[in-house]
Symmetry: D2
Subunit: 382 residues, 4 copies
């Protein structure tokens, strides 16, 4: 294995976390990811806006310092010689931008969950703040860090598919088929509450991932889109299903389907790209495989960990082929690569940035607008 390895430099970055207290899902995922390769040491947090809960959570996790107010945390940590160097933001969407701003202003690097913000305006304001900061920004579009996704992107960039014509991407779940948000489920509740989730539901939660994946692998972005958003569950305030037509800058066309109401689908993110030479196909639930079909030849099943893959895949792969890597390993790749970038000052072009997030918000915003207009093409260019 000449691939990714555990941290062997013993320079562990001091990490803080905002959000992620008791009962959170994604906060724990970020902690697994931070820990796996041993590049970070979690030392401080504002894990909840409720003081008791914040302290209880901090204690359980063994944090040295617990805050309730993220502004205070940003300021105090920036003043300590042993203060955090990086903060992970794992709150509901509406807090992403305010929290990120607070830390960026203090020069603390930010790892932020997606989508970037609740509204496009917020995203633009955040972008301005970041331009003025020395600190770096990572948006955790974790699916783009799977080894076989990196391989796919590498193949597209190398021209193996020829000129790209069609991009079909979908991200389909079923957990919101019924009105789960009214049963006390915390994850469902904030995601379907505009004041916490922002302007979109399904589109913000998973549509944003699907779109980023299509752009990342297709090495392009949409020029204009046309959307038909739906809210199937009675009483729900935001979209839970969307069909979107896309026209990309590289000339390709395609479709994006995002749904959280399709029974039988757990976390079915999949991507298919076709050029005039070949096609590729990847499914998140079988992440170690990539199907590659050259016109007129038998389809090939490329698998993680093999010598025939490019460096792009090998560098984010830990264990031999046939030993499945999963979701946490891909998430950990982002953390590890960001650590390497911070320590080496070499920019890694495969990491999702604030600009990625800003464009993502443009996409979400355009999808809402197009749908409100009963399906008209809306430009993503500005």
């Amino acid at each position: 294995m000449s691939g990714k390895q555990e941290n062997t430099q013993k320079r562990r970055l001091r990490l803080g976390m905002v959000g992620g207290g008791e009962g959170a899902f994604i906060g724990e995922v970020h902690r697994f990811a931070a820990r796996l390769d041993d590049h970070y040491q979690l030392v401080a947090g504002a894990l909840s806006s409720q003081k008791d809960k914040a302290e209880r959570s901090a204690k359980v996790l063994g944090l040295a310092r617990s805050y309730v107010d993220f502004e205070q945390m940003a300021q105090q940590e920036s003043e300590r010689s042993d203060g955090i160097e990086v903060v992970s933001i794992v709150t509901p969407n509406h807090l992403h931008a305010p929290v990120a701003m607070a830390f960026l202003k203090q020069g603390i690097h930010v790892i932020c969950d997606k989508p970037l913000s609740a509204t496009l305006e917020e995203a633009e304001a955040l972008y301005q703040v970041a331009q003025a900061s020395q600190a770096q920004f990572l948006l955790t579009h974790n699916y783009s860090a799977y080894p076989m996704v990196r391989e796919a992107r590498s193949m597209v960039k190398a021209g193996k598919l020829g000129k790209i014509r069609s991009i079909q991407v979908e991200y389909v779940q079923d957990w919101l088929t019924h009105s789960l948000e009214q049963t006390g489920n915390k994850q469902a509740a904030w995601r379907s509450d505009p004041s916490q989730a922002g302007i979109a539901g399904c589109m913000g939660d998973i549509g944003s991932h699907a779109y980023q994946l299509a752009c990342f692998v297709g090495n392009t972005q949409a020029k204009e889109i046309l959307a038909d958003l739906s809210t199937w569950v009675e009483g729900r305030a935001l979209d839970d299903d969307a069909n979107i037509l896309l026209r990309y800058e590289n000339g390709a066309k395609g479709h994006l389907w995002a749904s959280q109401v399709a029974p039988g689908n757990e976390n079915a993110l999949s991507l298919r790209i076709y050029g005039d030479k070949a096609g590729i196909e990847w499914h998140q639930e079988s992440p170690n495989e990539l199907i590659y079909s050259v016109l007129g030849e038998p389809s090939q099943r490329l698998r993680r960990g093999n010598g025939y893959l490019s460096e792009a895949a090998t560098l984010v792969s830990r264990i031999p082929s046939g030993h499945p890597e999963g979701y946490l390993e891909a998430f950990a790749n982002l953390y590890a690569e960001f650590a390497e970038q911070l320590l080496s000052s070499t920019f890694n072009p495969d990491l999702p940035t604030l600009a990625t997030g800003l464009h993502g918000m443009r996409f979400i915003s355009a999808s809402v607008l197009s749908s409100q207009r009963n399906g008209q093409w809306v430009s993503l260019e500005h």
Copy 2:
């Protein structure tokens, strides 16, 4: 096996064929289908419009009577006491309507390949003619006759999926990725020639099948559609790829993707339907399986030939489970069911009719129109 069986009544219908001479593909498929269950006896044909070729083909097939002119065939056969009772039309699209008219006018039953015609106007005219005829009409949307497709339709009708919300259908091939029509390939040539194929290429050839399948299983039809058709191959006169948004009469929404330029896809017709209780998934290339997922339960793999299936599937199934049935068997189901309908005078609601074909032409026509208008919703109601 209490399913479909070979004809055991020894009343074989006298069959004629128009088109299907040397070098044809679909003509031979129809003959396989007619022969498998032994309900038909092929006795006459106008297999080609070239006399020599017609006669040579007729001789090879052992036909009793060979014609060059289909009008003449229709008339002469109708005058004979041993004349054909049914004709199969397996010509390029532009001849479907004229040939069908000729035979319907003589009271001869028609089995016609899809799409119904080259233009919507033709289809409407044909529909009028048929209204005045005693003869019956079968449109060979063969994919709707697979046992597991019948099972799927039966499940939707029985309410097993609950209220339908989303229908995702696609029919994807790769054989026209390059300009095959300019290399002398006969199948490619007529399909991309507007004078033979009609107003659409990919949409007429396979989009029509995908749409019919969605409607047949979903037990609904589209109210309005919005299309983005593409012609990727330089010099091609008709569409070879299409992304279409659909809104169905039952309230469902969805997407249809048809493409003949997606490398790695042979004949990838697939259908997924999701309701508020359950979802189903079927793939033509694995036709003996149907995935059925009730919300909150493990997905089930329903397979042809098993006792747990409904009569709808069993009636069109020949051999035990695990012994794969394929494309020809599904095609033969249409032939067998049509024979039974003709002999019993009992109408079979699962057979595609001229009305199916007329609606299909409305769909194709609307897709072309919507795309010309850069993607506007076009109604299919009239």
Copy 3:
């Protein structure tokens, strides 16, 4: 498509059938197979040993001549100028040899279902009779006629796998998990009755197919085997499950598992062969695919109907890739090839012969013997 086509010579062979009356399964399969490509005309039969049933069945099938006694049939047909040229034997196993002898002695070609006979002694006697006859013999090991099985054999013969080391074959069903033979099921009853099935149950019914497939594709046969046969269902007189170790003449080793008591398996015949260069994998329930893995390269999915396949596959393929062919088409390939062999007098080395059947009986017999000896190596050489 330059592959297999319907009979276009209009020289249809006159066919008779012994067995296959009302309620039979395999008789109808043979008739489908005979009819598909139009090489045969079924004109006479001894469909049952019960006169009423024989006549009723013959009438339903429209046969010109019905017999009760197969000896009489063989003699009388051989004396007619329009007598049958070929007979299909679709009785329970114990009648295969006596019926085949009767027709071979009259110079009538034989198509016989497997296994060849009820005992090895019978098989040897039949072989002697055949040596003295001008008539030809086809044993319907239908699985060996799938296009992708032919491709696999062709690859092994061409050395694409290198030196063969391991052959893993299995044929697994579940329909005899319980004591179905005691519920009036006719198919189960004769298969578990030694007086009709012969010396073996599962081994004769499906183990024989698995073994023939391994030998056919591996281009070898076993030198010695070691068997552990089981009878899991109480009161059953014959084996219903078997694990067998094999050592082949080409030096390869392997395992054969046959079972009729493994819930979840319908007709799961599968074969995997590994050499020092590459491996292949084929599953009967997905018969249009063959997985081919060259060491150190991505696995390839070879699919029926593509231009990259060898002639061996193309010659037994009817329709384009992506249009699934199934069990009946493979069965029909044997019928078509046998017709071609009879009419052309050119020997087709891919057709299973009486010698294949004799060796198969040696295998079955050795498996019973080895198991009786609690698992000792038994030679198949004689």
Copy 4:
């Protein structure tokens, strides 16, 4: 998620490691596993028997204390108040027993890679030593800690399969198809060297895992086995392929195939178990799924993370369904469960123990003996 979570008790066990220096594979895997859930703190090691390498490796990993001699390490650590509480043994096989003895004698808990030892005699001696020690022992049969493997075991124990009849297990790789051990590959070299690997090659390395998995899920163990071991690669000193027949204590029969020379197989460990009510099927390369087939019903696809699973699966699952967990997560389950057992003093019956390892060595030893006797049944009872 009410499943497994990161350590939230902040009582981290002090861990040492023997083996696992530069260039090792399994040592790094153990470290990933130890770190993921944060139950351990790696503080000391004898990472190599070469002083320079040991120190360099220890420094890179930030260990507080580095040793060259494991005996010395065992003694000195046992004398420190902050000495290690647990040691992980990740050396080649021949050192497992000596190292384990040294630490057990000092009352230090042992986590040891499989197989337990190089010979059966060593295993028996080690077992005696362990009997006299207070320390606990974990053998890292990591595959048994996958959530869906736990589910499978739970189903068997609950009688969902009925009486078990057939167990088919295999573990197939291709990386030793050629003589990799002669090219300088360290992993291949020690595994094919009897002085380091012990009495078996493939059987010790992966056959042992396959057998343990079959016993663990089947809730039984073999009574007697019959083996045919092969060495396909010229010059190789140990077996690289094995076919084994098994008779289990619960009455079931079956087969085990282990191979490291089968091109196209990466790490293809799979298990199928059939009872008189139902069958199950699990594949390590798709570890989040378990196929469950009740006789006469559609097969069900059980998937990790769903509410319909038993506690057995849920307790070792970290993230929601559809977010793949892989090899490292399963490995980490063993580490986490062992930590919980050590801290709680509650015995976890799902963890592989020294007794498991001793029986495993009996199996390996019997397979070698049976094969030397050209395939005779050898008892595993003692």
